[in-house]
């Protein structure tokens, strides 16, 4: 039981990261029908931006933890989306209307480019960071085994859930969210009611990048070490999460993220660490066999 609870906590933390990245995949897919394979790299750049911000804040003598966290998060969410925006402007927009394969190959190219860009600027070695949030609760204890819920994990879960709520409200309640849904459902008609479709697509990349950058921030403060290659596997896992939840579905992406995180944590906890990735992908395959549209993706009931 104790062990179970510990894996549950670990899985949720990991799932928060996947879920936040998965939202970007699913939104971009929804609105322009492409898989933005460079999205994992945006997450990685978010982690680096956080690290650099922490370093700068440290050098500036800002050491009060809540303030440092807040500033680092805010600056990361502000700077990283510039990459998402530029990516769309420079690499994807010129290809709009061309075959899907062209956009897909470009996305893979951009992914490699961004990896190399960070490798060149920051070097290939691991970048460590001191833990910034320490301590936690002892939830349970059985003999030598202690279930720990760290303040860090509480912070991560609250931050993620809070962001997901805010984000869902934006999509459902605001003019921007309605414009995004309109573009997703019928881009031509969206333009015909006066929506600036290009701008809406840009903002979608910006929002996706902002959430992925938070995932990078979480990755950094949770694991304390990053390198230029972390975007690859996290990107694939998050993409898997998006497909598992039903690509195009926002709640699906969040659910998928948490599920993949939990599967990984439990598999590593009860079976072997080596095969945790296989487990996640295996479950994806199983789900897709029985529900080809993913868990929350619905085939459309439309009369047009």
């Amino acid at each position: 039981m104790e062990y179970f609870v510990q894996q549950l906590i670990n899985g949720l933390t990991l799932g928060a990261i996947y879920g936040l990245i998965a939202i970007g995949y699913t939104m971009v897919y929804g609105i322009i029908g492409m898989i933005n394979f460079a999205h994992g790299e945006i997450f990685m750049i978010g982690a680096f931006t956080s690290l650099l911000t922490f370093l700068v804040l440290g050098a500036a003598g800002i050491s009060w933890v809540p303030l440092a966290l807040f500033l680092a998060l805010a600056i990361t969410m502000l700077l990283t989306p510039i990459y998402g925006w530029t990516l769309e402007r420079v690499a994807y927009r010129p290809l709009r209307g061309s075959p899907r394969l062209a956009a897909l190959i470009t996305a893979i190219g951009m992914s490699i480019f961004l990896q190399n860009y960070v490798q060149l600027l920051q070097g290939a070695r691991n970048k460590p960071m001191q833990p910034i949030i320490r301590g936690g609760f002892e939830l349970m204890r059985e003999g030598d085994f202690v279930v720990l819920l760290s303040y860090l994990q509480i912070f991560i879960i609250l931050l993620t859930v809070g962001l997901m709520i805010v984000f869902t409200l934006i999509i459902h309640r605001t003019a921007l969210g309605r414009a995004q849904r309109a573009c997703e459902q019928d881009r031509g008609m969206a333009a015909l009611v006066g929506i600036n479709v290009d701008r809406t697509i840009s903002l979608t990349f910006v929002m996706g990048a902002a959430l992925a950058s938070v995932a990078g921030f979480i990755f950094l403060i949770n694991y304390g070490v990053i390198d230029f290659f972390i975007g690859f596997l996290a990107g694939i896992k998050a993409f898997t999460a998006a497909v598992l939840g039903g690509i195009g579905s926002l709640p699906g992406a969040m659910l998928g993220g948490f599920l993949i995180g939990l599967i990984e944590a439990f598999w590593s906890g009860y079976f072997t660490v080596e095969y945790k990735d296989v487990a996640a992908f295996g479950i994806l395959v199983l789900v897709l066999i029985f529900r080809p549209t993913g868990l929350l993706g619905k085939p459309d009931i439309e009369k047009v």
Binding site: R178, A191, V193, V197
Partner: protein, 236 residues
């Protein structure tokens, strides 16, 4: 207010419009009739910049809009209820109306919403229903209502009577006349229902194979033997 001159539009190699000239004056109701595939819908869409005219010019209130992006043309006061209705399927009726009002001053929203619900009480009963699950006729009402929500100065209607019961068609044509008079709204409409449409319109155009072949007042066209033979046969 709207002037289309020498417009050619292509879909790939297919030339759908072959030098079209159309004038619509302020506060007019102008009807465009023509057989299936003549290019009527293409003309309405070309006015909105999608697809684009390859040659020729389109001006709105004297301003050249031929190369303007669609959303900018719409923001100049043009609204279209397009062919196929194109309701946002996963949005509710209410949200679809909100989409129609994207370019409008929000202060008029409640008033305009009440007005379209007056016109189409059926929509009012279904505010929370998703667009994609409405019946064809209800979708048609919603498409027209959505177009009205922007308070357009130029309203483009592509077969507004399609799929509607005769009673509702009559009602819609009355509504068009009413808003044209009371709100100084210019209307350019495409219709298969040529008899009603020409009676409603101040002027009309006949399109054949991507070209305008005839033009005149509504009554002139109604009396024209060619028009009668081609578009009014079987009567009304």
């Amino acid at each position: 207010m709207l002037s289309v001159s020498g417009v050619h539009t292509f879909y790939g190699n297919i030339e759908a419009l072959r030098g079209v000239d159309v004038e619509v004056a302020e506060r007019e109701i102008v009807t465009l009739i023509g057989a299936n595939g003549a290019g009527k819908s293409t003309l309405l869409m070309t006015i909105c910049g999608n697809p684009r005219a390859t040659t020729g010019t389109i001006t709105l209130n004297g301003e050249d809009i031929t190369q303007r992006p669609t959303f900018e043309i719409v923001r100049m006061g043009v609204a279209q209820s397009p062919e196929g209705r194109r309701i946002f399927p996963r949005m509710t009726v209410e949200e679809n109306l909100r989409m129609g009002a994207v370019t409008a001053d929000p202060q008029y929203y409640d008033e305009d919403r009440a007005r379209v619900f007056d016109l189409f009480p059926r929509l009012k009963e279904r505010v929370e229903q998703r667009g994609g699950t409405l019946s064809g006729g209800e979708q048609q009402m919603l498409a027209i209502a959505r177009a009205l929500m922007s308070r357009p100065r130029l309203l483009l209607l592509d077969e507004p009577s399609l799929g509607l019961a005769p009673m509702v068609v009559k009602q819609i044509f009355e509504v068009i006349r009413e808003i044209n008079e009371s709100q100084k709204m210019t209307v350019f409409l495409v219709e298969q229902n040529a008899f009603h449409a020409l009676r409603l319109a101040h002027r009309g155009y006949v399109m054949v194979n991507g070209q305008i072949t005839l033009t005149g007042s509504g009554d002139e066209l109604l009396a024209n033997p060619e028009v009668r033979a081609a578009y009014l046969e079987g009567g009304h």
